[in-house]
């Protein structure tokens, strides 16, 4: 299993949401310069940080200026229920 510790600054590249899912599977992303569609849903953006750990992305927020988007590329396991 590939485990990434800490926040890694990603190469500043523009990705669609589908590309983000392929290039950064099961990761929390910090995205800037994002574009939303008419349903206020993320379409694409520039990935500036990524991590398996959400806390790393929250820490990276403190250094980030201006608009930002947090995006998670993973999915809950099918055998896991959610109750809030």
């Amino acid at each position: 299993m590939n485990v990434i510790k800490g926040t890694t600054m990603a190469k500043r590249s523009f990705f669609t949401k589908e590309e983000m899912k392929r290039k950064f599977p099961d990761q929390w992303l910090l995205v800037s310069d994002y574009k939303l569609d008419a349903s206020t849903t993320l379409c694409k953006g520039r990935v500036v940080a990524y991590s398996k750990n959400r806390d790393d992305i929250h820490r990276a927020l403190k250094e980030h200026k201006g608009n930002f988007c947090i995006h998670y590329t993973g999915q809950l396991p099918k055998d896991t229920g959610v109750l809030f």
Partner: protein, 135 residues
Amino acid sequence: MPRVVYDPAATSIIVDLVILSADGTFSAVIPVVLDTGASHTIIANDVLARLGYDPANPLLDRQRIITRSGIEYAPSVSVRSAAAIGQRVSELEVVAHDLPAESGVDGLLGLNFLKHFKLTIHFRRGVIDLTKAKH
């Protein structure tokens, strides 16, 4: 018509929530779970802090919330604007509270947002429509 398509096989319905900063100069987009059983919209403390809402301010009103671990009193703040599924609400009261990271979300879209609209969910197709409610 504002419409979001999601994976109907997914465990929960995740949508993006756009929140305007306290000074109105920038915005954040975060993943939230759509929850028609929740009275309030919830946003993570770190996100609200970065947007300038200061959820750690002890002078903020506290909202009594019922969670999986019992009753808690969480800070409540009014955000200038919140938008999801193509619809926007101004001056929305949100609760500052951290959901488990394993949930894959940074908050929860609750009834105090959804009640302003007509919400239609086609569960088998994985389609959500949110339209302005006709009075």
